[in-house]
């Protein structure tokens, strides 16, 4: 009787059933789409973060950035060339100069090996490894042979390209003093010193080896390098070639690519940590420590412990890092988190309210019916069960329709697969522009092209004789931009929870409606309609 009565009621009160089911379906569909897109955005954020911080990294510890030095003289971002720095050309009118420097990115602070040991000893830390993020800058080009004694003129030399590479092959021509012009090139790329003995966590845990071999434990102390595949392609480098870092030749032993082919890895070049520290003169220094916690539930505790122990460092969890993801991915994340979630809650609340109001209205309309059933001996429990059953089935119909509509919506999202760009702040050093200050006595007149970078150099090469001084501002941290196609994953859990919400809505409406029906006293129910 229960099933027949229920079927007849739903069938004969079709309008009410359809309205409640539509409300529930909309809510369920919206919840499914929002949850799936939200999961997709989270995956994309993890993907973007993994390309920089590595898979398995729960926490990163970075040194608090230092204010760049603005003192005059030969600062760390400055290339100095003396009178005898280059090779004089055969005609004696120009000299070729080249200088390579490997140093910590401007503005980056450093941690120490002792800090790493502290992290490793912290309770809840599964593994930790340190890296040293460096920037290799090579200045090379041809300078005119300057005549001493001429009155100094201020001039500026800018790079031909802010972060380009290679020297100009065209001969310098036309100097004010007739000695010929100048041609310079700046080559800059990022170098990451990684510990070859620890590969469980860190940037290299998120890469795949596309050629050669990775850095092995036996590579400690060796001049070997692994290149990012994008960088290797750009520079036309392959396994077996050499790359020069701080005037030292490194053998390229492997090429790595991001697990997500659309993005780059954390650095252009990877070398053993100890070698990076030696070449950069930063003995025992680290720029970041990558930490893996014993379990996800320990992350917050570990973060708090590390913040306490390393008060000068910045300790960030993946959740903190997710907030550093910017670009359209962040916008999508924000849209899903704000509009999507609130819209879901709103529609869900509206659907629940509609279901409850319709059920209450139905019970009120059926006062005589329920009064009659009570009069012929139906128990309260049976009547409540009947009302709750009807509401539950309405919720289930809505849930089923909503699941289908929601899945269709997710399918559309996955077919369209909107591409989201994610920018993640990283420790890669970008090379800024150069500002030039000619040394006393130099009279360069070659037009200085404007630097497009963000750095500015104001250093004066005072005290130099016979050669120009160049002060170049290195860009600080740069952003790694990744294009990620949004994929909204559907899990059984998402569907089950959405349908569960519809069932909950039905049960809630049924419980309230049933409660009202149970309160009807048969005599009053019959009297109220007499």
């Amino acid at each position: 009787m229960f099933g027949r009565y229920l079927r007849r009621e739903l069938g004969n009160r079709r309008r009410q059933t359809v309205i409640i089911a539509i409300g529930m379906a909309l809510a369920v569909a919206l919840v499914i789409v929002v949850n799936a897109v939200s999961a997709g955005v989270k995956d994309a954020q993890s993907q973007a973060l993994a390309s920089v911080y590595g898979v398995g990294t729960d926490i990163t510890v970075t040194a608090t950035p230092q204010r760049p030095s603005t003192a005059g003289g030969a600062g760390p971002q400055q290339f100095d060339f003396g009178a005898d720095s280059g090779a004089t050309s055969s005609d004696g009118e120009s000299q070729s100069v080249s200088q390579s420097r490997l140093e910590v990115s401007r503005g980056s602070g450093t941690l120490t090996a002792a800090n790493l040991a502290t992290v490793q000893k912290t309770s809840g830390v599964s593994s930790a490894t340190g890296v040293l993020s460096l920037s290799n800058s090579t200045f090379s080009g041809t300078l005119p042979m300057f005549q001493q004694g001429q009155s100094g003129q201020q001039g500026g030399f800018g790079p031909q390209s802010g972060s380009g590479s290679g020297t100009s092959d065209s001969a310098p021509t036309g100097g004010a003093d007739g000695a010929g012009g100048s041609s310079f090139g700046i080559d800059s790329f990022t170098v990451l010193g990684v510990d070859p003995t620890a590969d469980a966590v860190g940037p290299l845990s998120a890469v795949t080896l596309s050629d050669g071999v990775g850095l092995a434990k036996t590579d400690v102390g060796k001049d070997v390098a692994v290149l990012d595949s994008s960088y290797a392609t750009t520079e036309d480098l392959k396994v077996g070639d050499t790359i020069t870092l701080a005037s030292t030749s490194f053998e390229i032993v492997g090429i790595v690519a991001s697990t997500d082919s659309s993005s780059e890895t954390a650095s252009n070049v990877y070398i053993p940590l100890d070698v990076a520290q030696t070449l950069s003169g930063e003995t025992d220094a680290l720029t970041s420590i990558y930490v893996s916690a014993d379990s996800a539930s320990d992350i917050d505790t570990v973060q708090a412990s590390l913040e306490k122990k390393l008060s000068d460092a910045t300790v960030s969890t993946q959740a903190d890092l997710a907030s550093t993801v910017s670009g359209s991915l962040a916008n999508a994340g924000s849209l899903v988190a704000n509009l999507g979630t609130w819209l879901s809650i709103l529609v869900l609340a509206a659907a629940f309210l509609i279901a409850i109001l319709f059920t209450i209205s139905g019970v009120t309309r059926r006062t005589r019916e329920f009064g009659t059933l009570k009069a012929i001996g139906w128990s309260n429990r049976r009547i409540v069960g009947q009302v709750a059953g009807e509401s539950l089935v309405q919720g289930l119909i809505g849930g089923a329709v909503g699941a289908v509509v929601g899945l269709a919506g997710v399918l559309v999202v996955n077919l369209v697969a909107p591409t989201l760009s994610a920018s993640v702040g990283s420790t890669r050093g970008g090379f800024g522009g150069m500002g030039g200050g000619a040394a006393a006595g130099a009279a360069p007149t070659a037009a200085a092209s404007a630097a497009s970078g963000s750095g500015s150099g104001t250093d004066e090469a005072a005290g130099m004789t016979g050669g120009p001084g160049f002060g170049g501002g290195m860009g600080g941290s740069s952003a790694s931009t990744t294009d990620i196609a949004l994929h909204a994953p559907i899990t059984v859990w998402i569907i089950a929870s959405a349908v569960g919400l519809a069932v909950l809505g039905g049960l809630l409406a049924g419980a309230i409606g049933g409660w009202r029906a149970s309160r009807l006293r048969p005599a009053e129910a019959l009297r109220s309609v007499a």
């Binding site: 027949r4 059933l373 012929i376 001996g377 309609v529």
Partner: protein, 223 residues
């Protein structure tokens, strides 16, 4: 057999107190056909609700076959209604979404009668009221008289000892009224029921063995 002793029923309507029944003492033997008459608001329906175990008196005692209804809880009162008392309403009170047979079957649900037997007994009850051909009709597809026949079948399908009818012919024309009364009288005679009918209609009341008049909560036998 009904035994009512000093039954009083007082309602509170906002700030007003209404005494619907006042010290009613009454005995209705098994198998009697009783008509209850009286003016509107005199307490007819209240008395029927007391007899039908639909309500409890404010004071006094009601016993059905020795069972004190006033001392039973809601569930047990429901069980008494489900097994011993059949009720026919003026407005038929059929469930509009269920067919005639299904409406009749609802009366067997409290007794947990198996579905097949329920269907069989419902069809038999409908045949006994002359609606064997209309078992699959919805109430909306039946005339007033036919609907009341379905209601009578519903009241009788559980084979109660008492049949209470609240203005059973109030919504019917004269011809149909007579048909329904003949049906009720026939069932009363055939089944040995106690039949208690509340009615305004003297023509209906005159058919009863005993006539009670109720006015301002007081009940008296009409000679």
């Amino acid at each position: 057999m009904y035994e009512l002793t000093d039954v009083t029923r007082v309602y509170k309507q906002k700030k007003r107190t209404v005494t619907a029944l006042k010290d009613v003492t009454l005995t209705i033997p098994d198998g009697q056909m009783v008509a209850i008459q009286g003016p509107t608001g005199g307490g007819k329906s209240t008395l029927l609700q007391m007899l039908g175990a639909l309500d409890r008196p404010s004071s006094g005692a009601i016993a059905l076959d020795g069972k004190q209804l006033t001392k039973l809880g809601d569930a047990k009162l429901g069980a008494v209604r489900g097994s011993d008392i059949g009720i026919v309403f003026q407005g038929f009170n059929l469930i509009p979404t269920l067919t005639a047979q299904e409406n009749v079957e609802t009366a067997l649900v409290p007794q947990r009668v198996p579905a097949a037997e329920r269907a069989r007994r419902a069809r038999a009850a409908l045949e006994s009221v002359g609606l064997g051909e209309r078992t699959d009709h919805l109430p909306g597809e039946l005339s007033g008289g036919q609907q009341q026949r379905v209601a009578i079948a519903r009241a009788l399908v559980k084979e109660p000892r008492v049949l209470l009818a609240d203005e059973p012919t109030g919504n019917l024309d004269e011809e149909t009224r007579d048909e329904i009364m003949e049906l009720l009288e026939g069932l009363w005679r055939d089944r040995g029921l106690t039949l208690i009918i509340v009615t305004h209609d003297s023509a209906v009341a005159r058919r009863a063995q005993r006539r009670l008049h109720i006015k301002q909560g007081h009940v008296r036998d009409v000679a």
